[in-house]
Symmetry: C2
Subunit: 308 residues, 2 copies
């Protein structure tokens, strides 16, 4: 098996396009693809500062590495990591984030939610006042805190490590369940509201988990390999199993579905009935974006009072 670019021994064959590549040309190929995604969805303007959400896992670590190669000469990258207070797991995660940021010379801010908001995910897990599954709570906290601190550090966009596998499985779940609102708002680029929400981008939208894993290994990128102690597989994972199975049988189908969603379905649904779309307003407590009087994060904080 020979590399299509240089003719040397290839390390990987990509099923969805038949391409065979050696390590260096695979790395180059992934960087080019991410660059194309950023351009295609007009994610970043020339002068933008990009805050990269870093969990310590392989996807976000690979994302930072790729962005550093794309924006090699600029100072526009900053890392943001949230210390969620999940016992040893959070400490381990932060370690990997710091190692990579040091290596790549990217400034990183570690936000400790215990210090900032006086509760932790461990507290929330134990609290009897919280009825939602802890993964939902954790997702809410991350979205909120990342937005607040991306703005605080003057970032223009917030980049997250969402990969194709997750995006397409969530898309299928939304299509099956008719989640109109999410179908209209989903995708790789969510613009800023110019008030309190920083633009969110997903540069790995068209890159698979397998590709970020290989990219990380080929570049010796450090990342946390243990999973979160609270990560019980949620509903969405059956959709992921199914979309992965389809990809196995019909290579390239995940990419096709995502592209057709962005090119056709999302636009058609948006035009179809704008009345159904929920109006964005601002939280009376923190001023952040919400569809209620008080945002979900402020409601959570209220519940967690006295639960420290």
């Amino acid at each position: 098996m020979k590399c299509k670019i240089c003719g040397e021994s290839a390390n990987i064959k990509l099923d969805y396009c038949g391409l065979k590549l050696c390590k260096p040309h695979f790395i180059e190929y992934i960087q080019k693809r991410v660059k194309r995604t950023i351009k295609r969805y007009q994610m970043v303007r020339k002068e933008d500062t990009i805050a990269v959400a870093l969990s310590g896992g392989k996807d976000s670590q690979a994302l930072l590495h790729i962005l550093k190669q794309i924006y090699v000469d600029s100072n526009k990258l900053i890392g943001i990591h949230i210390d969620l207070g999940i016992n040893d797991y959070s400490q381990e995660s932060a370690k990997f984030v710091r190692i990579l940021c040091d290596e790549l010379e990217v400034p990183v801010h570690v936000i400790n939610i215990k210090e900032e908001y006086n509760f932790t995910i461990d507290n929330a897990k134990k609290s009897k006042k919280i009825r939602r599954p802890i993964c939902g709570i954790c997702g809410l906290v991350k979205r909120y805190v990342l937005n607040v601190f991306a703005r605080k550090y003057k970032a223009d966009v917030l980049a997250t490590g969402h990969v194709m596998d997750d995006e397409v499985s969530v898309l299928l779940s939304n299509l099956v369940n008719g989640n109109f609102e999410q179908l209209i708002r989903g995708g790789p680029f969510l613009p800023s509201d110019d008030v309190s929400m920083v633009a969110r981008i997903k540069p790995l939208y068209e890159i698979s988990e397998l590709e970020t894993t290989l990219y990380s290994h080929f570049n010796n990128i450090p990342f946390i390999e243990i999973t979160c102690p609270y990560d019980v597989k949620a509903t969405v994972s059956s959709y992921k199993q199914v979309t992965n199975k389809l990809e196995e049988m019909q290579p390239g189908s995940r990419y096709l579905l995502l592209r057709n969603y962005i090119k056709i379905y999302k636009k058609a649904l948006k035009d179809y009935n704008t009345e159904i779309q929920q109006e964005l307003c601002y939280c009376k407590v923190c001023g952040g974006p919400t569809i209620r009087d008080i945002c979900a994060f402020c409601s959570l904080r209220k519940k967690m009072e006295g639960n420290e």
Copy 2:
């Protein structure tokens, strides 16, 4: 396990709704569900004559049986079976169709395509002039011939035995591949064009293959159990594997996707860009509906000339 309706011993538990039913109440339940589908999509008007396309397989045989129970007092049902000229298989199929139609006292017309059009599917399979896969050719022949003879026998609607499993797998395939035209025209009811196309309905749109199988067994409905000798599993079957797998893990998901497609996506796509929609016109040879000058069936006939 007890029947929810009568408390007697149940024969089946339906995973998607948790309902446990005995044989007679399962039969009643399926008939009610089909009645609801017919009503929901306004498939049949009071005075309509329904031509039922009968292949001899379990789905269309079950369909005829169900429709006969729903329209018990009327003479509005006729059966149409096409003898495709697939050697022994076609002869076997016709036998089962005749047995059931006799039993149910439904008049049946058997259309022999060799007699009518001077070629058979066996001929087409062997012909070097035909490059399309034979299942595609066979589908084309069936659609065309059913329409011609449904009209000839003065039917108002043509009912086919398409079940949920097939419909949802085709839907997913169309969504993945962005088959705009099919997404707009798909669904359980395709109205007549008032010129040369009879309305087509799929009363089993919301019934699964498992349900028609059980329904057939519980009613001792005769059907052909061998598969067509040309039935090599086509592309669509990977979508079927995937949607069946999803149903296993998330019971009811197939139904949900179909409903949301009909309620939202189909309408949104239709509104979105009507310009893309192909204009229906009429074949210069036979006058049948087509999007070209000469319809696909007449082109096929031309190719088959001298191939008898």
